[in-house]
């Protein structure tokens, strides 16, 4: 298993990457219009455009190398690692996989995933409560650990969090959100951006349904309210129920 620590390198200064594309005008109308003695300088750029630029570079690199990248996101404890362990056991070695796994602390998930034989890189954002998501520059650095010519599918297991990872493009081809039946049915409505930006949803732990007062129909309906055309796969990482359609969808996307 390869491992490295991501030590708070945080955000780059935008001048490191590209010239700022803002204009400085003393334009009569805007000067002093709002505040006397001030000059308004138009900027108009995305706050996260440094991330977007690196994500774009990642996407180009992965396309060039023929690597398909998926970004798996969910709240903590929904079963991302268990799903990936089972998924890897079904698709390797036919599909050559590698994994980048993000956690704030510990390499526990990487240890579990390394059992598949796929190369795994653990990214720890900080030993004491670091970043809540993986950003494009982290993926760029982590991907340096692999020989991309020998990889068909790069799986990124993001940090457990339904909010922030949704905002950060990493250069992936597909985004997958995992929701488990031990969470509320209304999660998609509470975290709409996550469910909106993803391409498929996995409803995990359905083996527990007999023991829960969980309304799976409502959960699926809520996912479809936010993203009406999103495929939803009801699965159990424990029993592997539903895996056939999830794996066949994934491999179809990979080869498509």
């Amino acid at each position: 298993m390869l491992a490295f620590m991501y030590k708070n390198q945080r955000y780059f200064h935008h001048n490191d990457f590209q010239k700022p594309h803002h204009s400085h005008d003393r334009g009569g109308g805007s000067v002093g219009g709002k505040n006397r003695g001030t000059r308004e300088i138009k900027i108009v750029r995305r706050v996260l455009d440094v991330n977007d630029t690196i994500a774009h570079q990642n996407r180009e690199l992965f396309r060039e190398k023929g690597v398909f990248v998926i970004n798996v996101m969910s709240s903590p404890g929904s079963g991302k690692t268990a799903i990936l362990v089972k998924t890897l056991s079904q698709i390797t070695p036919k599909i050559r996989c590698a994994v980048i796994v993000g956690d704030i602390c510990t390499s526990n998930d990487a240890d579990r995933l390394a059992g598949s034989g796929a190369p795994v890189v653990q990214v720890n954002t900080d030993a004491f409560g670091g970043d809540c998501h993986l950003a494009a520059h982290v993926i760029k650095t982590a991907a340096d650990n692999f020989n991309l010519d020998e990889i068909d599918l790069l799986i990124v297991e993001n940090i457990g969090n339904l909010v922030c990872p949704a905002e950060f493009d990493m250069g992936e081809n597909l985004r997958i959100v995992v929701l488990s039946v031990t969470e509320g049915e209304d999660k998609p409505l509470k975290y709409p951006l996550m469910f909106r930006v993803c391409d498929a949803a996995l409803l995990n732990k359905i083996d527990l349904l007999p023991h829960l007062d969980y309304d799976r129909e409502t959960a699926v309906q809520n996912i479809l309210k936010v993203n009406p055309q999103m495929p939803v796969f009801e699965i159990s990482a424990k029993t592997e129920e539903g895996f056939e359609s999830w794996i066949s969808w994934l491999t179809q996307k990979l080869h498509g």
Binding site: C164, K225, P228
Partner: protein, 115 residues
């Protein structure tokens, strides 16, 4: 949750945008747009901005956040509406083929610098 990182990014962009002839000037105001669906809580962003701006030319700057509504358009029947809930099902035809016209913004639009 990542508002501190966002605040730091805003400050970096703002500082880099101060014109050379106003190098020592204080930034009075930073204008940004935040979409309703962006994963940013304006209150947290204000709080983080205040802390992160200390000892920078933005120490006394006001962060002015314009909230942008979530606007959706149905690509089947072309109806447009402003959504108050995150429901992406067409109001008119019940179809699911929709696109977001606005609501994901996280843009810095301008800074106002002491002249």
């Amino acid at each position: 949750m990542h508002e501190m990182g966002i605040a730091m990014q805003i400050i970096e962009i703002a500082v880099a945008s101060i014109p050379a002839d106003l190098k020592n000037a204080q930034v009075k105001r930073v204008n940004i747009k935040v979409g309703k669906l962006a994963a940013v809580v304006p209150e947290s962003l204000h709080f983080c901005f205040q802390i992160a701006a200390q000892d920078t030319p933005l120490g006394d700057a006001e962060l002015n956040i314009e909230e942008i509504p979530l606007k959706i358009k149905c690509t089947d029947c072309n109806v447009e509406w402003t959504a108050l809930d995150p429901v992406f099902i067409c109001r008119r035809c019940n179809g699911g083929s929709v696109k977001m016209l606005s609501g994901r913004e996280l843009d810095i639009t301008s800074i106002e610098v002491e002249d």
